[in-house]
Structure formats: structure tokens, C-alpha cells
């Protein structure tokens, strides 16, 4: 018997493959909350192919449908032949956007991000990288968002307690991934280039990120969608994983939990599309909130549904973004949890805005920071 050979490469475009394939619909969060066949992976592929064949045209209704995909990556993560359907959908959006036919909200985002590119450049030239001069960087990102700013402060404090001083990189810089999801390729490229410049000039060999979405942007979006090269020799690591290692090594400890409610840990948006240490955030949450208080979400780990703050859905389809958040809250409630904890500040903020029925949302970095016992010995964390 010969050794297993690699499966044959698909020579046809992804949308040709996906248009009559139903196999990943069980994982698609938008299909799940809308129940509409038109909002499922195969339907988006069929829509694109039907336009190519002249059976429908891009008009307000069909474009709106195309923008309902969350660009969450679950379809691809559950596809046996790894079809990059989200990339194909986003590529089609880029063509639509360039043709001026995207929803008006997309161009509003473009204008806002353009301003960001310009003002971010000015800020960087005056400030440069901040804090400890370390070969480990922390990607700060767009801290005009208050939730992110708080999470960044907490993460820096936690890392310091763990003996990992960091150089702050990319302050006020969106990664560009939302722009890329929306089909705003040019602005995404500008934002990404600015981040890459910051990383290159920071003199680091490792960049820690707050959330899987940032890692996905640096590891995949830049190369696969924007044709940009990530700085060689700079690896990207989830900050939460570094903290979990410090916890395991005894370099971090948290106050004994008392009277804390049962909680569910939400794997942040984009989790399923990445190789990820699922145990790391859970270990930290358990240390801070008590090992017996965890109540698992149904949509977790490799099947984790996004919270709704993803892919620009907030601007193109706020109703779907809200339904995704409500579904996470319902999921937590059904599991018997009263808190949802998650490290991605965008997820915690979005979920908090939609929390209801006695379920509250906590950012995991902030929570860990609050419960940190500061007498921990630094230096042995890595």
C-alpha cells in the first residue's frame, strides 16, 4: 500500500465548489440565528455565481444579502477540503465596493477609517512606542474605544505582574481587518501597512495580542487578503496564553473567589479559524472565579459562534449583530451562567450592550486585573 497522498487541489474557484454544497451550514452562526436559507454559506456562494451567470444583478437587496455574512471563518474551519469561502465573499465585496455599489454604511466606515489612518500617523510620529523597552510587544490597537483602552491597561498590568514587561505597539491603530471584511481593500492596506511599520520599528521579536481576531489579522488577513508581508522574525502570541503559562508557573495568583456567580467563558470572535489553546483562558477564569463556577457555552471552542461584533455586521446588519449577541446571552442563561467572561474587549463591550435577563458581561483581562494578588513574584512567568 502506498502512503496517503495529499487530496487533489481544487482547481475551480471556491464559489463554484460551495454553491451546491450544504456541508458547513451547521456551523454558520448567521444561518443559525436567522433561519433563512439565503443566509447560509452555500447561498452566498450561489448568489455570487448567479450574478456571474447573469441570473441576478447586484442591487440593494442582493448586496445587502452578501453583507450579511459575518466573515467569522466557521464555514472554512468546518470544511473538509478547506475551501476559503469567507475570502471569496470578501473579494466579491471588494469588487462591489470599488464599483460604488456597497451599502452606504460601508462608505461611512471608510471615511472614518481614513481619518483614523491620517490622525494615527500623526500620533505615532509624536509618541513612538511607549513604556518598557522590551523585545516583547503588546499590540494596543484602537484605544479610542474605551473598552479596549481599559483592557489594554489591565493586560499590561497583568503581564508586568507575570514578569513580562512589554513595549506598546500600534497605539490608535485599527488592524484593518474590519475594513478588509467590508471590502474596503485600499483603506485596509493602509491601516495594515501602518501597523507593520510600527511593529518593524519597535525592535520586538514577539507581539502579544489581546484577542484571536488580532492574531488572525496579522497571521492571515495581511498575507492572504491584502498581499502584505508580516515582519519576519516577529511571532504573534495570544496575551492570554502568556498569562496562563505564568499562572501555571505560579507567577500569578488571584484572590480567593467568594460568592461569585456561575459564569460562561465566551471564546472570542474568530477563535474557530485559528489554532488556539482553548484551555488557557479557561484556566485563568477558573483561577479568578473558582473552578466549579464554570458553565460551558454550547457554542464553544471549534464551534464558537461570534458575539456579533465581527466583520462590520454592526454597521451593515445591526439586527443580525444584535441577534448573535442575544443568542450568546441566551446560551449562557441556558447553561445556568449569570456572567459571561471573555478577553476580547470588542466582544465584552458588544455583549454587555445586549445583556439581558440577569446575565452580565465581564472583560476577562479587567476581571483578572481586579482580582490579581500583587505580591506575586515577577520574572518567572515565561
Amino acid at each position: 500500500m502506498s502512503a496517503p497522498a495529499a487530496p487533489e487541489a481544487g482547481a475551480v474557484p471556491t464559489t463554484e465548489n460551495c454553491r451546491f454544497c450544504w456541508m458547513c451550514r451547521h456551523a454558520c452562526p448567521v444561518g443559525h440565528v436567522t433561519h433563512r436559507e439565503t443566509y447560509t454559506p452555500h447561498a452566498w456562494a450561489l448568489e455570487i455565481e448567479s450574478v456571474r451567470r447573469g441570473q441576478i444583478v447586484w442591487d440593494a437587496s442582493t448586496v445587502s444579502v452578501l453583507y450579511a455574512c459575518a466573515d467569522c471563518g466557521l464555514c472554512r474551519a468546518h470544511c473538509a477540503t478547506d475551501q476559503p469561502l469567507p475570502d471569496a465573499i470578501v473579494a466579491e465585496r471588494a469588487a462591489i465596493t470599488a464599483a460604488g455599489a456597497a451599502p452606504a454604511a460601508v462608505y461611512d466606515v471608510e471615511r472614518r477609517l481614513r481619518r483614523h489612518v491620517e490622525s494615527g500617523a500623526a500620533a505615532r510620529s509624536s509618541n513612538g512606542p511607549r513604556r518598557a523597552s522590551s523585545t516583547v510587544g503588546l499590540f494596543v490597537g484602537d484605544i479610542s474605544d474605551a473598552a479596549r483602552a481599559r483592557a489594554v491597561e489591565s493586560t499590561i498590568a497583568l503581564l508586568a505582574a507575570a514578569g513580562v514587561p512589554v513595549t506598546e505597539v500600534g497605539a490608535d491603530r485599527p488592524t484593518g481587518r474590519t475594513a478588509a471584511s467590508l471590502g474596503l481593500r485600499d483603506v485596509a492596506v493602509d491601516l495594515a501597512r501602518a501597523v507593520i511599520d510600527d511593529v518593524q520599528s519597535a525592535g520586538i521579536d514577539e507581539l502579544l495580542v489581546l484577542a484571536p481576531g488580532d492574531r488572525w489579522a496579522f497571521e492571515s488577513v495581511y498575507a492572504d487578503r491584502l498581499g502584505l508581508e508580516w515582519p519576519k522574525g516577529v511571532r504573534v502570541t495570544d496575551a492570554i496564553v502568556v498569562l496562563a503559562r505564568a499562572l501555571a508557573a505560579g507567577a500569578l495568583s488571584f484572590g480567593a473567589p467568594k460568592d461569585l456567580p456561575p459564569y460562561a467563558y465566551h471564546d472570542p470572535c474568530h477563535t474557530p479559524r485559528l489554532a488556539r489553546d482553548y484551555a488557557a483562558p479557561r484556566a485563568l477564569a477558573a483561577a479568578a472565579l473558582g473552578p466549579d463556577a464554570a458553565r460551558p457555552f454550547f457554542w464553544r471552542e471549534h464551534r464558537a459562534h461570534p458575539c456579533g461584533a465581527i466583520g462590520g455586521l454592526n454597521v451593515t446588519h445591526p439586527d443580525i449583530a444584535a441577534r448573535l449577541a442575544a443568542a450568546r446571552v441566551d446560551d449562557a442563561r441556558a447553561a445556568g451562567a449569570r456572567w459571561i467572561v471573555t478577553e476580547d474587549p470588542a466582544c465584552s463591550a458588544h455583549l454587555a450592550a445586549h445583556a439581558s435577563g440577569g446575565v452580565e458581561v465581564q472583560n476577562l483581562f479587567e476581571l483578572l486585573h481586579e482580582r490579581l494578588v500583587t505580591s506575586s513574584r515577577p520574572t518567572s512567568g515565561r
Partner: protein
């Protein structure tokens, strides 16, 4: 909007389900105009259109389904139930327009009873999601169709589907304990929730295999089991189909209770097993599997190995068996699966052991003999086994289909005619698990013979105005 769907009908439906749950945008009409049947896909692939629904309705409860059917019955509007749209027979196609009733909002698990080992769920729940929920508790619904990730519970039952491990656990219809069904007049009926009974006829079975022509399944209770302690997979290589079939027959009649026996004919071994699993082999590749308690499964496997050895099989060991198990569904993902622009069809059939081999050779000869000069190929594997016979999952494939869609359709239908008439002539049944739908509707009279009028009269009694899925499963009469 088609003439049969007046504004009054839309208003009445909107009053039942809400405006958000009635749709008729052109994009929705396009998406609901194609299921997993090759024919509409081929037409769309070639830039043409297929019949579309007038309205798509998304009821949120069984009661709403019943009220929707009452409105449709009153207005004499065709109603087509739609679960996942993964059916391969065109059963969910709105060939006469009318209403699609998409069941996907009926997606709740109502009860998981670990004492009596059943799960009660609404019919629109996705099979993959249901399985995840059960697996979280160490349980499983032992119906593992390749389409589990895309099909709904109602869609498992309506065409009487089978999964990979049906050889041990039975078909979907063997796993169902009770049903709730909405009927055309707007009534909801529920069959008793008992393990089985002898209190008169089992009317639940009327809704299994009728593919939405008698009503809409709104809820089902399914038998579940614990995830097994062990699962032993192994691959064998037989010199030909005949010896492999004999080995499978002996395992079944000796009641070794295999989880799965899957035997690929030499052509599929050379083509599909190589493409998907990467093994280059000549002969008939067979997977055998046993599950349950480790000691019992091991003993069953030992006996099966002895049977295979006595028939001269080469034991390929565990790795290729386990690799097959881990990748068993990969065969159905593009680009591995058969796909356009090729012309193809799964012409599976089922029969008793004394006839199944003959059917395989007869179909191969008929298809390759009649259409071989056009480049049509025939491949098959034996997929679902009983102590009395087996099912032959066979396919025809033509890589270069005629360019004009009319010609492609005509050739496709001609090959189907040849396949079905050959199966029937040699004692086979039209199929084991894909159902009838639109594709095989025209063969139902021939298959049922004198019994067909009886089925028609049952249909008339349940659906007197013929609103339910007209043109499918042999029931051709239009709403009147």
C-alpha cells in the same frame, strides 16, 4: 407574485407568522429554487432558471405550521416543506410555485431523557447541532448520514434516510418513537410516545417516506444511545466484489452486529479511495467496524476477521480503517464529490443477498453497455447491510456532459430509466435511503403495481385538495 398567491394569502400568512417570516425577494426565490438534485443545479449552472416559490414562510411553532397549512388549503396553494434542502431527489423543489414552508425556526430540543434514552426535538433542528448537544452529554443519535451537518431531523425522516452505521443501529425510521405532524386542513396529530405497540395500525409510518406529501412533520422523538466505549475500525482488501459480498453476508447472517461494512467495487477503490484517502489499491476495499463494550466488540471483530481470512482477504490493518472513519464524509465535499459540469446520479438500490450481486453486474453492464461509448462510467459500493441483504450505492458519471441543458437533461433521464428498470427487473427496489422526490416520481406506479391506487386513496383522504408537495413521490394531482 404568481396568480395563486393573492395579497390575501400573504396577509393571512403574515398574520400567523409575522412580516419578518414571510419572504418573496428575488434572491430568496433563487436560493429556494434548487436543492441537492443534479437537475436544477445543472440548469442554474448553465445560466438558466428553474421554478421558484411564490412565498417562503418560516413558522415558529407547530401551531403556526398547522395554521399556515389551513390557509394554503383554503386557497388551494401548493405547499412544499423545506428542511435543509440537502435532499438529492428534488423533493423540496417548488416545481409548481406556491409556498415553501421552511422548518428551520423549529429548532429546539424539547427533552433529552437519559433514563428512557430518547430525545424529543422540533423537526427543523439541524442534524449536526442536535448531535453536538447529545455528544456533550456522552450520548448520540446513531443516524450518521453524510449529510448530518446540513439536513434537518424532519428531513432525515421524510425520505426514510440511512446513515453510515445503519447496519447496526437501523435507518432513521427505525430510530423514531413518535411524531407530531401538521396536516393540510390545519390539524395537528401526534402518535403515541411508547417504545412500540400493537394497538392497531402504526399510522406514524404514513409520514415516513411520504416526503411532505401527507403533511409537515413538526416534532419527533428519537431513540438515542450512549457513545460507545470502543469503536474498532479495520480495512480489508478482497480480490473482487463477489468474495467481499460473501464475507459481508456471513458477518450479517451470523449476527456479528457490525457497526459498518462498506465495500467499494474495484473501480471506486481505484478512483475514490485513492482520491480521498490516498491509498493505491487494486481489488475491493472493505471497511468493517464494531463498537460498544471493548471485549464484546473485540470478540465480534475476531470472528469477522476469521470470515475474511477464510475468503482470502488481505487484512490492511487498523490505520486505513480509522483513516476512512475520520474522513468518511470527505467523499461528499467538493471537489472530492461528483460535481458539475459533469453529469451524474446516485442510482442506489437494495435487495436480498441472493440477488444483489446480480443487480450490480446487470446495472454495470446496462449502463456501460448502453452509454459507455459516450464516456459514461459506473461505480458502486455496498453501504448498508441487513441480515437478509444489502444496499448497493452505485453511480453513473459522465465527465463531459452535453453542452445544451436540454440534451444533458434528456441523457440524464435516459440513464436513470436504464438504471431503475434494470434494478426493478432484477428484484431490486428503487432505493434504500434517498427517497423518491421529483426525480423518481415517474417510477412509483411501476414499482408499486396494484398497490399504487391504495396509496393514492390514502393520500386523497389525508390531503383532499392535493396541496401537499404536488408532483412528488408519484402523487401528480394538482391543488383543486
Amino acid at each position: 407574485m404568481p396568480a395563486d398567491l393573492s395579497a390575501g394569502v400573504r396577509d393571512a400568512l403574515t398574520a400567523i407568522v409575522g412580516a419578518d417570516h414571510v419572504r418573496s425577494e428575488p434572491i430568496d426565490q433563487l436560493i429556494y429554487s434548487v436543492d441537492s438534485y443534479w437537475l436544477p443545479q445543472m440548469w442554474l449552472d448553465r445560466g438558466r432558471r428553474t421554478p421558484t416559490p411564490g412565498l417562503i414562510v418560516y413558522p415558529g411553532s407547530a401551531d403556526e405550521v398547522a395554521r399556515v397549512l389551513a390557509v394554503a388549503d383554503e386557497a388551494r396553494v401548493p405547499v412544499v416543506p423545506w428542511g435543509g434542502g440537502s435532499g438529492t431527489q428534488g423533493g423540496a423543489l417548488p416545481i409548481h410555485g406556491g409556498l415553501i414552508v421552511d422548518t428551520k425556526r423549529l429548532d429546539r430540543i424539547l427533552e433529552i431523557n437519559e433514563r428512557s434514552m430518547y430525545v424529543r426535538a422540533q423537526a427543523g433542528i439541524n442534524g449536526g447541532q442536535l448531535e453536538w448537544a447529545l455528544n456533550d452529554r456522552g450520548l448520540t443519535l446513531p443516524h450518521y448520514p453524510a449529510s448530518a451537518t446540513c439536513a434537518t431531523l424532519g428531513g432525515y425522516l421524510a425520505p426514510r434516510g440511512s446513515g453510515t452505521i445503519s447496519t447496526k443501529y437501523g435507518k432513521a425510521e427505525d430510530l423514531v418513537m413518535n411524531l407530531e405532524v401538521a396536516l393540510p386542513g390545519g390539524r395537528l396529530v401526534r402518535t403515541p410516545l411508547v417504545p412500540n405497540h400493537a394497538s392497531g395500525p402504526d399510522f406514524m409510518r404514513l409520514f415516513l417516506g411520504t416526503e411532505g406529501t401527507f403533511g409537515v412533520i413538526t416534532e419527533a422523538t428519537m431513540r438515542i444511545t450512549r457513545l460507545p466505549e470502543t469503536r474498532l475500525l479495520r480495512a480489508m482488501l478482497f480480490k473482487d466484489v463477489a468474495t467481499g459480498l460473501e464475507a459481508g453476508r456471513q458477518m450479517m447472517v451470523q449476527r456479528l452486529d457490525p457497526l459498518v461494512i462498506r465495500m467499494y467495487d474495484p473501480r471506486s477503490t481505484g478512483l475514490l479511495v485513492k482520491r480521498v484517502l490516498g491509498y493505491e489499491l487494486q481489488g475491493a476495499y472493505m471497511i468493517i467496524g464494531f463498537d460498544g463494550w471493548a471485549d464484546i466488540a473485540a470478540a465480534q471483530e475476531q470472528r469477522a476477521l476469521a470470515i475474511c481470512a477464510s475468503l482470502g482477504a488481505r487484512d490492511l490493518g487498523r490505520e486505513p480503517g480509522e483513516r476512512w472513519w475520520d474522513h468518511r464524509y470527505d467523499f461528499y465535499y467538493p471537489p472530492h464529490t461528483l460535481h458539475l459540469p459533469a453529469l451524474y446520479g446516485t442510482i442506489e438500490t437494495v435487495s436480498t443477498f441472493d440477488r444483489i450481486e446480480e443487480i450490480y453486474h446487470a446495472k454495470k453492464a446496462a449502463i456501460e453497455g448502453t452509454y459507455g461509448h459516450l464516456g459514461v462510467e459506473y461505480i458502486g459500493h455496498f453501504s448498508h447491510w441487513f441480515p437478509w441483504g444489502a444496499s448497493l450505492y452505485d453511480r453513473f458519471l459522465l465527465k463531459d456532459a452535453p453542452p445544451a441543458p436540454e440534451d444533458a437533461e434528456a441523457l440524464h433521464n435516459q440513464i436513470w430509466d436504464t438504471a431503475v428498470t434494470t434494478s426493478l427487473a432484477h428484484g431490486g427496489m428503487i432505493n434504500e435511503h434517498h427517497g423518491v422526490g421529483l426525480k423518481l416520481s415517474r417510477f412509483m406506479r411501476a414499482q408499486y403495481g396494484d398497490a399504487w391506487p391504495l396509496l393514492e386513496s390514502i393520500k386523497d383522504a389525508i390531503d383532499p385538495h392535493h396541496i401537499m408537495n404536488p408532483g412528488k413521490v408519484g402523487f401528480e394531482r394538482m391543488p383543486s
